[in-house]
């Protein structure tokens, strides 16, 4: 959204920071309103009580994917201009596990921690401090972890390219995966609610 304004010099990089700030506030507001400013809500997905985070994230993925697919299909968006984070398989798996462990232990992920800090939650404040401490530690220890960080480079890879599948087929497969995931999540939630009710009745 910002790109054309920045490109045509309607506003400069300073103003774009203000716009980024406003977008960030909007994002934080959406997270908070969805209940994601509470560690209880976030970790309850790991106890399988409430899979809202999973559903929201997968909905966002499907919505963005379909939007990008159709916009590029009608020629409005050139996919080769979209920045792709290069794939480094091993370090990204390790990073994902570290982030996931932090999510389970701390009860937040980075964005939700900031949103929750803004509403005055002390646990999120501490989580945020840990986040920045970890970033600083990584930066200072970079020479030690550089080997891992740059291991298994695969360049800018996408699933259709890597498996040589038609782009549209992968889109459809992801949609099916999401719908299956939503149905499964609903089923699990019901099951856990029933179990909880039974446990309460027994007690």
């Amino acid at each position: 959204m910002m790109a054309p304004f920045l490109k045509y010099g309607v506003f400069g990089s300073e103003t774009s920071l203000v716009v980024a700030f406003l977008l960030g506030i909007g994002f934080g507001f959406a997270l908070e309103r969805a209940g994601f400013g509470s560690a209880r809500k976030l970790v309850s997905q790991f106890y399988l009580d409430d899979l809202a985070v999973f559903k929201v994230m997968f909905t966002a993925i499907v919505t963005a994917m379909l939007g990008v697919t159709y916009l590029s299909w009608i020629g409005f968006l050139n996919l080769s201009l979209v920045y792709l984070v290069p794939t480094n398989l091993l370090p990204q798996i390790v990073g994902g596990l570290v982030l996931g462990a932090g999510f389970v232990i701390g009860g937040y992920c980075p964005g939700t921690a900031l949103a929750a800090t803004a509403t005055g939650r002390v646990d999120a404040l501490i989580y945020g401090a840990g986040l920045y401490a970890g970033t600083l530690l990584f930066a200072e220890a970079y020479p030690l972890v550089k080997g891992l960080h740059t291991a298994t480079p695969m360049g800018q890879t996408t699933i259709p390219q890597y498996f040589n599948l038609p782009y549209g087929l992968v889109v459809f497969a992801v949609v099916l995966m999401a719908l299956g995931g939503f149905a499964g999540a609903g089923w699990v939630e019901k099951k856990m609610a029933a179990r909880k009710a039974a446990a309460q009745a027994a007690a």
Binding site: G9, N78, S80, V85, P86, N88, T150, M154, F172
Partner: protein
């Protein structure tokens, strides 16, 4: 059909919509690469703002810092590249082979040739194909020689002088001051071509290294 639709909850309707859109998308052939429209207004703004160029001394700093977030492309033909002055870390890609050089549209690409004109032509070719981070090295190789390897140091303060001297020595040159240039206003022009320039190790990773980090949630 309509009756069936009205019995669905909002979630189920949205799920159905996603399913239909996904089904139709099987036939999708997304626009990827190929032609990009040239936007003269955008290009003019890039030129006016000067973001289409990088001063030779800035490039020198980047090389000394061993930064790996850019690719330096030397556009001369291979014979001239092999025989002449080379900037450390430069890759030789003659203009005719730019399309096959495996450059990515989101990379920072610095172009250098004998003078700015050839680099500017290549800049236009790449910009017209939608490359976003293309810059020209100011003054080309001549600028590199005059600004970095053999900079004039008359009339600059001591700190700046020391800095220029350090940079020029790093690249195997020497600063010029009033006396030497009065005696001979010749920088050792092409003779310097043979100077062996200490090449800082090119960090291994064009591909995976310090790319921008983007957080998810």
């Amino acid at each position: 059909m309509l009756q069936f639709f009205t019995t669905l909850s909002t979630n189920q309707r949205l799920a159905l919509l996603a399913f239909v859109l996904g089904l139709v998308a099987i036939a999708a052939t997304p626009a990827r690469g190929g032609r990009v429209t040239v936007d003269p207004r955008e290009m003019a703004i890039l030129m006016e703002k000067g973001v289409d160029r990088v001063p030779a001394r800035t490039l020198a700093d980047w090389i000394i810092q061993a930064r790996s977030d850019f690719r330096l492309i030397d556009l001369r033909d291979p014979a001239a590249f092999a025989a002449g002055l080379r900037i450390p870390t430069a890759e030789n890609v003659p203009v005719g082979t730019l399309a096959q050089a495996g450059l990515a549209r989101d990379e920072k690409i610095l172009l250098v040739a004998d003078d700015e004109a050839r680099a500017a032509q290549a800049w236009f070719l790449l910009e017209a194909q939608g490359f976003k981070g293309v810059r020209i090295v100011e003054g080309g190789l001549r600028g590199w020689r005059e600004q970095v390897m053999y900079p004039r140091v008359d009339g600059v303060d001591a700190a700046q002088r020391a800095r220029l001297e350090a940079i020029s020595r790093h690249f195997g040159g020497a600063p010029r001051s009033g006396e030497t240039s009065a005696a001979s206003d010749t920088m050792p022009a092409l003779a310097v071509a043979q100077v062996v320039v200490p090449v800082p190790p090119i960090p291994a990773a064009k591909k995976g290294a310090p790319a921008k980090k983007k957080e998810g949630c």
